[in-house]
Symmetry: C2
Subunit: 341 residues, 2 copies
């Protein structure tokens, strides 16, 4: 039996935040790719399109005129759900609100192309919407699908906010894991995790006075990152003005790094997780640490993505290279071909 | 508060086989689609390509000549993994074998285009490989990624077999759920589930003497199906010759239905789940019922897929129509536009 080298030997890793195992098969990157190549991105998006319902001033199908930031899209009506008649046929009520929040009046920009003060305004809007919807709903999920490859159906820069009457599955897993860690170790899981990554320096992508960006030890997507405040912060609205400015600047750096890697407008889904809200907001949620996940689909270039299919859907998440290896995976000619430190 | 109608009111459903909640938002199908349209499929695949390593007679890079069925691709070497030094940095050994199994000597056919006896030969090969690798490994995952949209990197009809020294995450969840159900209710979860679906007749797609195909109550993918034997069978090798013949014929019917729906070679990932194998194969696994999952990505047409992104990656699985609604979702001109009964 040989000695273990993570970059050559297949192994499994545990995700302690979401209680999941990941298979890491680094040798797979050595294989040639004969599979699907994604269509080239549309090169030009008009700055303003009066027919695009996300453009400011455009009139929507229902006659409403768009608001520049934080537009309410859909309000679901309450209903009564009958009790389940069988343990294998359980359903429950799902009440909630969906919002679309535009980042900028122009359609042809993305967050990394916006100025730091413009990004700061988005952060403030995220904090407000968390406060506003969190007054009623136990979970407020802010997420951005960027790029057609990530199912984004409108090129105008925007994110969505789905607030729900229940804790979604992944929120429940993060709650369970963080609570268990705190009661066993006496401190928040992600506080200790961030400190360890600062010591180990193997997976850091960016650091600033108030924030860290790293490729988690248990990352599933090739260029997945975790964005963490250094201070113990449970929810977005708790961030100080200085922390918000610093967040705007580290976000601009991270997203520029992503764009530079394969010289493309880097697609991803991202979203924020923080302590539950709603009527239980006043309970003890000290085991929670605010964080954002970035899940980009690309693997080898601007047009070759990672497919989470077959084995991943039927058996276990699987990645084709170690989280430590992504550091030099980008396009060699790019200023950011060194992804992590 | 209005009365609940599943086809109009958003709700959540529980997946008792994998312990997960799914959000069902049927109203989403009413929205127009402005997002990514998949590239058209390659229309012609050559019947034989001497450069394709999966074609019989072709010589692989390592000098090996391909076998027509059940070729061994990669054997991983054992290694020693040091103990984890921190609870947030846990890794484990992952030993295993990967096989590629070709379905047919020709590159331009797929399972639904093959004859029933040819499909029967594939089923026999699945049973043998389960027996062969199951002698050593606790989990033998047979899966097929069909179509470029599902990350299939070679058009030659084939599946993969990944056998591992550990129970993958999803296998562990199915083990936990089926074991709990059996000890609470005294019979296998999927035996009772199949019986209920036969009674309720809302989600059946196909039935035969020995098999059922249905859209599960908790399906996540629009046209997801579950293929179940009627008899209590724990693993593929236990199937009788009659059950295998019947399986070949119902598979041909199901896959033809899929192809007809949107008049395209329907992409999907599919795979088999049965009781664990390896050194513990002799233990009591009576709570397990053999089954296959089919996960097709298409939503609206041959070129518009469902994206599992944003909310799905960060919060909870989400589908855009109810499992009962898929019955009439296909192309109206198609002979199989009525998908389920
Ligand atoms: O091994 P293949 O067929 O090239 O690769 C395909 O199946 C694998 C197992 O599901 C996935 O990890 C890959 O993303 C996919 O492209
Ligand atoms: O609502 P949108 O942006 O049209 O839709 C996008 O995001 C949703 C939430 O993640 C997904 O369910 C859809 O599959 C995706 O296309």
């Amino acid at each position: 039996a040989a000695t273990f080298r993570a970059s050559e030997h297949q192994h499994i890793r545990y995700n302690p935040l979401q209680d999941e195992w990941v298979l890491v098969s680094a040798h797979r990157m050595k294989r040639p790719w004969q599979g699907q190549v994604e269509p080239q991105l549309l090169k030009t998006v008009p700055r303003h399109d009066p027919l695009n319902p996300l453009c400011p001033g455009a009139t929507r199908a229902n006659g409403e005129v768009n608001l520049p930031l934080g537009k309410l899209l859909l309000l679901r009506c309450p209903f009564i759900l009958g009790p389940s008649d069988h343990p294998l046929f359980q359903a429950g009520a799902a009440r909630g609100v969906c919002k679309v929040m535009c980042f900028h009046p122009w359609s042809d920009v993305t967050l990394p192309l916006m100025s730091v003060p413009e990004i700061r305004a988005v952060i403030d809007a995220w904090a407000s919407v968390t406060e506003e919807l969190g007054a009623q709903y136990p979970w407020v999920q802010i997420f951005e699908n960027k790029g057609a490859m990530m199912g984004c159906s409108n090129p105008h820069p925007h994110c969505q906010v789905w607030a729900s009457s229940f804790l979604p599955d992944i929120a429940q897993r993060e709650e369970r894991c963080q609570l268990a860690y705190q009661s066993q170790h006496g401190e928040p899981l992600l506080m200790e995790y961030g400190r360890q990554e600062l010591l180990r320096k193997e997976r850091l992508v960016l650091t600033s006075e108030h924030w860290l960006v790293l490729v988690p030890f248990w990352a599933v997507w090739p260029f997945q990152t975790l964005l963490l405040p250094r201070r113990h912060v449970r929810r977005l609205p708790e961030l100080t003005p200085t922390e918000r400015d610093d967040l705007a600047s580290i976000m601009k750096k991270l997203l520029t790094k992503y764009d530079n890697l394969f010289e493309t407008s880097f697609p991803y889904s991202m979203g924020w997780h923080g302590a539950p809200t709603g009527s239980e907001a006043g309970a003890d949620w000290d085991h929670w640490q605010l964080h954002a996940h970035y899940y980009p689909p690309l693997l080898r270039s601007a047009t070759v993505r990672k497919f989470m299919v077959g084995y991943e859907m039927l058996a276990q998440a699987q990645r084709d290279l170690t989280p430590e290896q992504v550091r030099t995976l980008g396009h060699p000619g790019s200023p950011d071909h060194i992804f992590s430190s």
